[in-house]
């Protein structure tokens, strides 16, 4: 199974949506979303809080009726055949979609029974999944006593008691530590490897970059850019120069100088000593750095690299993806 790039079976779409609209008391939460998600790929919805990611997913998972537009999920019409859609998809919501009062084992047995397993099969299946997710020891503990990472894993385990053809993961790693986040990423990769299409939402650009074959950047209910992470980066520019100064007082001077030399706007980072700028001609970089040295602005480190998706987002929307006031900082 080729999960790296989707061109293998473009004709076969897991999700095909056109003009999806959802209005909540005059606010257009989703405002004309078109999607074409190939089977067997990971598709990332990237956007800040309130962009319309969750609402779109809830419509595609048959939880909300679109006010306008139509969609086919794995060949089934979303509006006319919700039952057929439900039997092929699975949803892991943004907030624990498991019963926190029950143990991990009981949660999985519950779902397995609902999916049609006999009591005995349900127990076997639950035990298998707990072991595959490294949760054997916590099997009998109430889920509310689980750590954030364990909770996420049991939540995903519940979604794949019967392996779905399409899995919705709504912000699967929000608030997780890097280790737990990596575990979730591994699980997603294995899932895609077995043929499941994954549609995930995230506020983390790194996550979309790491996992998604294609990314839709969503803002104010609209898709403002779509493509592979490479394509999105390329649309922004050839590269980005990051500079960190020894003396933060000199940042505005450095900003002026760099902007003159590079001929592009220079962006001040959250880090008070750092700046970054898009680079169109790489040969100008050394000139610009030399200029800083002449002006006695000492540089502690610098790098020239591909633009990050953060910068992509900034270029596309004119503001950072994650607001500075947000508590959930981008790890």
């Amino acid at each position: 199974m080729n999960s790296s790039k989707p061109n293998s079976n473009y004709s076969e779409l897991a999700v095909e949506a056109s003009g999806l609209v959802k209005i909540f008391s005059r606010h257009r939460a989703v405002d004309g979303v078109d999607l074409a998600i190939p089977k067997g790929t990971v598709y990332g919805f990237l956007g800040p809080n309130g962009a319309g990611k969750t609402t779109t997913i809830r419509m595609l998972a048959t939880l909300l009726k679109p006010d306008e537009g139509s969609a086919k999920i794995l060949g089934h019409d979303l509006i006319r055949e919700p039952g057929a859609v439900r039997s092929r998809v699975s949803l892991t919501g943004q907030f624990a979609s498991i019963d926190e009062n029950l143990s991990g084992m009981e949660n999985l047995i519950l779902i397995a029974r609902l999916m049609g397993y006999t009591r005995k099969q349900a127990k076997t299946r639950a035990a298998e999944l707990l072991s595959a997710f490294g949760l054997e020891e916590a099997a009998k503990r109430q889920v509310k006593k689980y750590s954030g990472g364990m909770r996420r894993r049991i939540d995903i385990a519940a979604s794949i008691v019967v392996r779905p053809d399409l899995l919705f993961l709504d912000e699967p790693t929000t608030g997780l530590d890097p280790r737990s986040r990596n575990q979730i990423w591994d699980i997603v990769r294995v899932l895609v490897g077995t043929g499941t299409t994954v549609l995930l939402t995230t506020q983390y650009l790194e996550e979309a970059d790491q996992l998604a074959d294609r990314i839709a950047v969503i803002d104010h209910g609209k898709i403002i850019a779509e493509g592979t992470s490479g394509e999105l980066k390329a649309s922004v520019g050839s590269g980005v120069l990051h500079v960190r100064l020894l003396d933060r007082e000199k940042r505005s001077g450095a900003q002026r100088l760099l902007s003159e030399r590079l001929g592009t706007p220079v962006h001040l980072s959250n880090d008070p000593a750092a700046l970054s700028a898009r680079v169109t001609q790489t040969e100008r970089v050394s000139e610009a750095l030399g200029e800083l040295a002449k002006a006695d602005i000492r540089v502690t480190d610098f790098s020239l690299g591909q633009p990050s998706l953060d910068e992509v987002f900034l270029t596309l929307t004119g503001r950072p993806a994650v607001e500075k006031t947000s508590k959930e900082s981008h790890a």
Binding site: L63, G93, I111, G116, E128, S159
Partner: protein, 278 residues
């Protein structure tokens, strides 16, 4: 480090196997799905046994209060009053307990798990029906407790064991039907507390403007007319009939009709709200 990487690969391999080594089970039937949800609700009692307090403490308090505070004044003696009151207090206990169905649903639905249930290929009313089945079990516990207390205090049912059991079964059928009103309230209101408040405000007049505590013979005629058609009165009369051995089948039929009407009206409304819940 090496070992770590190895165990990680092992884990991924295991996960891949678990995902692939699977036959798709046949779809769960409506009954089986509902019973599974009932099982889920009962498991909660295992973890939070305190929730049974409200179905035990409240009725015990009510029985004792009414029997000893008002019994003598209302019927001449407490033991005489108890024969009249007990079937009624049983009805009242269970009717009040139905409020918790709405409160519990309201608490539950605000959590993500209902999104999962709603996106699963199951008979869509089954999460609600299952919860009501488990609640009926709770009502059963409440009934048994009140009955035992009554027997200790001196309640002597002429209808015998079968009369008592049939009376309780009738109450449970009615309670199951009545619960659908509270599922509607539970789905409309925002917080569990407001569900509690609104439901109690509804239930107090309905239970007190009935023949549970007193014979309506002395009430003004307009009130009597209301009390007589109150389904709670009809139910209480039928339960008294069963327990005293003087049952009139017509009364039972009326209770069943009232139950059917409640379900016919409120179950579809509940399902509509449930499906369209944001």
């Amino acid at each position: 480090m090496e070992q770590n990487t190895q165990s990680k690969i092992g884990q991924q391999e295991q996960l891949r196997k678990v995902l692939l080594s699977q036959e798709r089970p046949p779809k769960a039937g409506a009954v089986s799905a509902s019973l599974t949800f009932g099982w889920r609700a009962l498991l909660k009692i295992k973890y939070v046994p305190e929730q049974l307090l409200d179905v035990t403490f409240f009725p015990v308090m009510f029985t004792l209060m009414f029997t000893y505070l008002f019994g003598g004044a209302l019927a001449g003696s407490t033991s005489k009053y108890l024969q009249f009151l007990l079937p009624g207090i049983l009805v009242q206990t269970v009717v009040f307990t139905t409020v918790y169905t709405g409160v519990a649903l309201n608490t539950d639905i605000s959590k993500g798990i209902f999104d999962r249930f709603r996106s699963m290929p199951i008979w869509s009313p089954s999460p609600l029906v299952g919860a009501l089945i488990a609640d009926t079990f709770r009502y059963g516990i409440a009934s048994v407790i009140v009955m035992i207390l009554g027997l200790i205090l001196g309640f002597r049912p002429n209808g015998g064991l079968s009369g008592v059991v049939l009376g309780i079964v009738l109450i449970l059928i009615f309670a199951f039907s009545l619960s659908w009103i509270f599922t509607v309230i539970g789905l409309i209101l925002r917080t569990p507390n407001s569900v509690m408040g609104v439901s109690m405000t509804l239930l107090f007049p309905v239970t007190f403007a009935s023949n549970i505590f007193v014979d309506p013979a002395t009430m003004p005629s307009w009130l009597r007319a209301v009390v007589d058609v109150n389904p709670v009165s009809v139910l209480t009369t039928a339960v008294r009939g069963f327990m005293q051995g003087t049952i009139d089948i017509g009364e039972v039929v009326w209770v069943l009709v009232a139950s059917a009407i409640l379900i016919a009206i409120f179950a579809p409304i509940t399902m509509y709200l449930y499906r369209h819940k944001r």
